[in-house]
Amino acid sequence: MIRKGLAGGSFKPLTEESIDRIHQTAMRVIEDVGFEVNSEIALELFKGAGAWVDREKHLVRLSRKRVMELIEMAPSEIRLCGQDEKHDILLGGQRVYTGTGGTALYIYHPDTGQKQLATLDDLKRIAKLVEQLDNIHLFMLPTYPSELPVEQVDVNRFFAGLDNTTKHVMGGIYTLDGVKQVIRMAEIIAGSGERLHQRPIISMITCSMSPLKMDRHYGDLVVTIAQAGIPLVCPAEPLCGATSPVTLAGNLVIQTVDSLTGVLLTQIVNPGTPVVFGSVSASTDFRDLKYLAGSVEMGLLNAAGAQIAQFYKLPFYATGGMTDSKVLDAQSGYESALTSLLCALAGANFIHDAAGLMEFALTTCYEKYVIDNEILGMVMRAVEGIAVNDETLAFDLIKQVGPGGNFITAKHTRHFMRDEHYQPSLSDRDSREEWEARGGKTTWERAAEGAKEIIANHNYSLPAAVRQQVLSEIADIVD
């Protein structure tokens, strides 16, 4: 059974009072401090929407009343569609989904211990792999093809995704022309522009620049994407003690303001634009200010972010499931599991980066997708929680079996065992003798076999006619 879209929310790191105080402080920041907008077109739009604009400083301030009005315009639920309907996901509320993330520059090969720059072929193979891994619900484009010039990157990344998996494809984007090419390609695959709007098989990501700053290029991109009505994620990446206060509460204030900046802009451009409130909040290593991807505080921050998104009734994009470890080891396992679990239990709608990333998110690894698929299966089982009803309490059965009996032969056991108990696809539960007889393989060795098998034996590609049309109409695709 595949668990997805189940409701989280049992873990609440913030009280209602704490959420309100973070909200009030964020509003004070937007009203009194403001944020810097370096895109001229975005600056004009904010001005037109009633913001106080200081042209010289590129500074924008808004009243909290106006902020809340704009947030109200944004949909509280967003459907992200797969090419196959069974992969559709409905972001919003406390429903939990997981996915890959990026964008990693390198790929690591555990068998050689080497890492190298990732290529377009790596991206295609990862898409094939993720297509078969059931606990990864959405495919976010995880790597950057190092061999391509930047103007070819957007369209080739999205094509690599759409041509190798039927899951929804989300990705960061790099150029304005690239955005337009990607949208045109998605229209061909969806059937038409209208059908793409009805069933968005792609979504895009642009980033704010914490603290309180919107880059010129990304500001322009937000405007273009919102005009096209393509679902957009606006995450911010405040790092404790570097680009936000060192305190977790202070980080959440910056996180809230910076992500709302993007949300507000999309609603000014095109009211009702499907926009996702995003968090990439994280900690830093105070010894060198490196971005850390596996800290427990990151789990707390992103779980809290889910509560804040629920407060604003905005769909949420969280970050979890990564590791700072350079290899697949105990650290990579516990960091990935802990951060994913905290987000999921808080009801984070889409946990991105939840599969495949290691070494501060700089590096991706085939085997880690398989391992994370297992972790996420367990995480989703934890989200599901414990069903309590007459059938599961099983009084009649207990009475029937009675003292000293057993439940092995009970129909009740067969009926519930597979659903009540997560069935691992990777974890080793053999006795030592069995395990040794099977070669005494470590987790990553078994994961490597799984990854190789999937990539060798499974091959989705776009329907031939559609594929042909895409290739003939869209220039720059490297087939």
């Binding site: 880059d215 003690g241 200010l289």
Partner: protein, 236 residues
Amino acid sequence: MTEDILALIKGNVIQGRVTQDDEGFDEGVVGQPGVSELTEKALARGIGLRDIINKGLTEGMDIVGQKFEAKEYYIPDMLASAEAVGAAMEILEPHLAKSGIKSKGKIIVATVEGDLHDIGKNIVSILLRGAGYMVKDLGNDVSPQTIVAAVIEEKPQFVGLSALLTSTMIHMRDTIQALTASGLRDKVKIIIGGAAVSEKFAQSIGADGYGADGFQAVRVTESLSSSKENKGGDHG
């Protein structure tokens, strides 16, 4: 008495306290004089500038460096100490000029055109000040022309360029070419840094040095200062 004040300066550099209002690494020091007050006091007592710098500031920073290496201190601790030294150097600067003691040199720093990321550059500035350099910070998104104009105006011995993005690092090359075209290239040593760049890139664009992090930036500056081919300062 002299020894006491110098020991206090050194101790407060280690504590990372610029003024009497600052907290230190240890508890319960707020209200006691910081490095600024102590430096003023040392000057008033007529303590020699070299002693203040060597036995107070530099010895303090050396211990801070050791504590950092030992993983006892973090970057914010290190920066607090460097700021304390920078504040003291500012107080000492007019006296240094009068007494004919040469400063270690002036460096212009900037994040290059198109790039708004300036945290790394700001850290490098603090560390360079802490190491006794005079730093002129031009900010972020700085065009090659602005940097050329600043080199003419400020007559620095060094230019430090920073870029976080792979899309803006190319403007480092543009800046170096603009300095060459203006006949200023051999007047300054150029040091680059930032997430996007590397030693190899530094060589490929004809920079003189590369700092992978703030500490290496200071070390590279120090080594270029002592190199014999450094013509910096000739025009100053």
